[in-house]
C-alpha cells in the first residue's frame, strides 16, 4: 500500500531528475536569501550554478549543528517571518536549542511524508492512532499528528506521560496504532503488567517507534511484550521532524528515506570523505523542497549506511540501515568507540534481563571505567550469591566479546533505573574531559 504511489515508486532515473531540479532551485534560493549560505559558498568559491548533476553536491560545504546554533534563532531561515506558520526547537542538551521554521507548504509536505510513513508502516484510514510522542516544541507529537490527519486516521493526541491513563485510553478507545519512543513503549508494558492489563487483549496492531536509537533485540522484546509489529521511524527536527525515513512493514529491513524531498549521503565523520553504498558512516541530508529552513549537506551525526537495492515493497527510495547511534552519543572508553545501543543489544540478548540500563563512565587516575547497571528481575533473581555473580560476569564477558571494552556489571534493584516518558537518558559521564 502507498499513500502517494506515483512518487513513492518513481523509477530511479525519474527520481534523480526530480532531485536535481529541486536541488538546483534550493541552492539558488539559499544563496539569494540566507547570508550564511552566501558567505559559505563564496568562501568555497562556489556558485549554485556549478551544480549540473547530483554528483556535484559533494563539492558543497557541510552545514553543522554548530552553524545552526551560531544562527540562533532565525539566522538560517530562507523565508520571511510572515510566511513562517510554525516554529519548533530541538532539546538543547548543550546550550541553546536549534530552531526551525515551517511555511504553510512545509507543514503540508511534512504531513504528506508522515502520512506516507504511516501507510508504509501498515496504517490506513480507519486506524485509531494513539500518539504518545510529546506535543510541544519537540517535533514528534505534532509531526505524527498532522500525518495521521492527512492520512484520514483518527488521532488521539495523548502526548507523553500519565502512563496509567494512556493504558486506560488504549483499552477503552480501541487504539490500533501506537506512536512513541521505544523506551516509553517498554515502560508502558511494565505499567500495564503492574495494572494487570494484558496487551494481547488490546487492539494495537502496529507501533511506530523513533526519536532514539534502538536495537533489533529491543524490537523483539517490544513485539513480544506489546503484541504488535514494531516499526522504526527516523527523523530530526533540523531536517523536518519524524517521517524523514521509515521501515516498510513488508520488509522491516532498512528505512526508506523520502528521496523526492531529501538527498542522503554517507560520509566518514572524521574526514568528511564520501563513503560508498553499504559503508557505515555519518548520514548527511540535503533538503530539496523545504522553504522555511532549507539545509544543504546537513551533518546529522547519526551513524548508518545507505542502500539503493530494490525493496520488496515496491518503493524505489533508498534505505538507510537502523541507526547504531549518534556520533555525539558515542562514548570513547579507553580508546574504544561504544554506542549505548550496542550495550543494550548485548543486555537484551541475555534471557531475563530487562532493557532498562544505565551506563556510568568515570575516570580513575588516567583510566576510564565503565559501569553497566542493570536491573535484577524476579526471573533472574536467585537466593544464591554465585548465581547472581555469574550473571554479572556473563554480562561483562559478552560486552567484552562484542565491543572489546572491559566493564563492571552491576545489579540494581528493580525499577531503580529512571524510566523515561520521552527520550531515555542512558549515560552518566562523570569524566571531566
Amino acid at each position: 500500500m502507498f499513500f502517494n504511489e506515483e512518487f513513492e515508486t518513481l523509477p530511479r532515473q525519474a527520481l534523480e531528475a526530480v532531485q536535481l531540479k529541486r536541488l538546483q532551485s534550493t541552492l539558488e534560493r539559499v544563496y539569494a536569501n540566507v547570508p550564511f549560505y552566501k558567505a559559505s559558498f563564496d568562501a568555497a568559491g562556489i556558485k549554485p550554478s556549478i551544480v549540473t548533476c547530483l554528483a556535484d553536491l559533494q563539492k558543497l560545504p557541510f552545514t553543522t549543528k554548530q552553524d545552526m546554533r551560531d544562527s540562533y534563532p532565525y539566522g538560517l531561515f530562507a523565508a520571511p517571518m510572515d510566511e513562517i506558520v510554525r516554529i519548533h526547537a530541538s532539546s538543547g542538551t548543550t546550550g541553546k536549542p536549534t530552531v526551525v521554521g515551517y511555511t504553510q507548504k512545509d507543514i503540508s509536505t511534512w504531513s504528506e511524508l508522515m502520512a506516507r510513513s504511516f501507510v508504509a508502516a501498515g496504517a490506513h484510514k480507519g486506524d485509531i492512532i494513539h500518539n504518545a510522542y510529546g506535543y510541544g516544541l519537540f517535533t514528534g507529537g505534532l509531526g505524527a499528528h498532522y500525518g495521521a490527519e492527512r492520512l484520514g486516521a483518527s488521532v488521539i493526541p495523548i502526548s507523553g506521560g500519565n502512563t496509567k491513563r494512556q493504558i486506560m485510553i488504549m483499552q477503552d478507545f480501541g487504539s490500533t496504532i501506537l506512536t512513541c519512543t521505544p523506551s516509553y513503549s517498554l515502560f508502558m508494558a511494565e505499567e500495564a503488567e503492574a495494572e494487570g492489563v494484558d496487551f494481547k487483549k488490546l487492539k494495537l496492531r502496529v507501533g511506530i517507534f523513533g526519536a532514539e536509537p534502538w536495537s533489533e533485540e529491543m524490537r523483539n522484546e517490544i513485539e513480544q511484550k506489546l503484541n504488535l509489529t514494531a516499526i522504526d521511524i527516523y527523523g530530526l527536527s533540523e531536517i523536518m521532524g519524524p517521517g524523514v525515513a521509515i521501515e516498510c512493514i513488508e520488509a522491516k529491513r532498512g528505512l526508506h528515506i523520502w528521496e523526492d524531498h531529501f538527498i542522503p549521503e554517507i560520509i566518514n565523520p572524521e574526514t568528511g570523505e564520501l563513503l560508498s553504498e553499504g559503508e557505515r558512516g555519518e548520514l548527511v541530508i540535503t533538503t530539496i523542497t523545504k522553504q522555511g529552513i532549507p539545509l544543504i549537506r546537513y551533518r546529522t551525526r547519526d551513524i548508518t549506511s545507505l542502500t539503493y537495492e530494490p525493496c520488496i515493497c515496491g518503493r524505489t527510495h533508498a534505505r538507510i540501515s537502523r541507526m547504531s547511534g549518534r556520533s555525539d552519543d558515542m562514548l570513547i572508553i579507553r580508546g574504544v568507540n561504544v554506542f549505548p545501543s550496542q550495550i543494550e543489544a548485548v543486555l537484551v540478548s541475555i534471557e531475563g534481563i530487562e532493557p532498562h540500563y544505565m551506563l556510568i563512565v568515570d575516570r580513575q587516575g588516567t583510566m576510564d571505567t565503565l559501569t553497566v547497571q542493570f536491573e535484577v528481575s524476579e526471573h533472574l533473581f536467585s537466593d544464591e550469591i554465585k548465581v547472581l555473580q555469574a550473571l554479572s560476569r556473563r554480562v561483562e564477558k559478552e560486552i567484552k566479546d562484542m565491543l572489546g571494552v572491559t566493564c563492571t556489571a552491576k545489579l540494581v534493584e528493580p525499577k531503580k533505573i529512571q524510566r523515561s516518558e520521552g527520550k531515555a537518558q542512558r549515560v552518566i559521564d562523570n569524566r571531566k574531559l
Binding site: 524476579e378 533473581f381 544464591e384 550469591i385 547472581l388 545489579l411 534493584e413 528493580p414
Partner: protein
Amino acid sequence: MKVEQISIFIENKSGRLAEITRILGEAGINIRALSLADTSDFGILRLIVNDGVKANTVLKEKGFTVNMTEVVAVEVPDRPGGLSAILQALDREAINVEYMYAFVERCGGNVVIIFRFDETDKAIATLKAQNFNMLEGSRLYNL
C-alpha cells in the same frame, strides 16, 4: 520436610535493611531466622518468617525482588560434634551445602540449623535414613 525461605535482593545502600524490617514489622510478620549474604555490590537477605506468603506479597508491593526457596531445617544436638555428624553424613552422599545458618531459637535441648542443599530431596532422604530429625515448616514458623 521442606521449609519455605524468602530471599530478598538488596543493593548495598544505607537503610535498605531497615526498610525491609519496617515493612515486615508493619505487616505483623515475625522473623524466625535470618541470614545476610553480602558482596561489594549487593546482598541477599534470607528469612524464615511466620507467614512467608504474606511477606512475599508485601515486599513485592514495595518493589523488592523476592523469591521463595525450599530449605531444610535440621535439629542439631547442642554438644561438640553435633553439626559435624550431619555434615559427614551428607558428604558421604556427595551432597553440597550451598549455605547454612542457625535458627534464632532452640527447640528443646537442640539447635536448629537451616540448610540450602544443591539436591534437596536427596539430602532429606539421607538425613532421614541416618535418623536426624528435621522440622516441619508449620512447626518452625510458629516456634
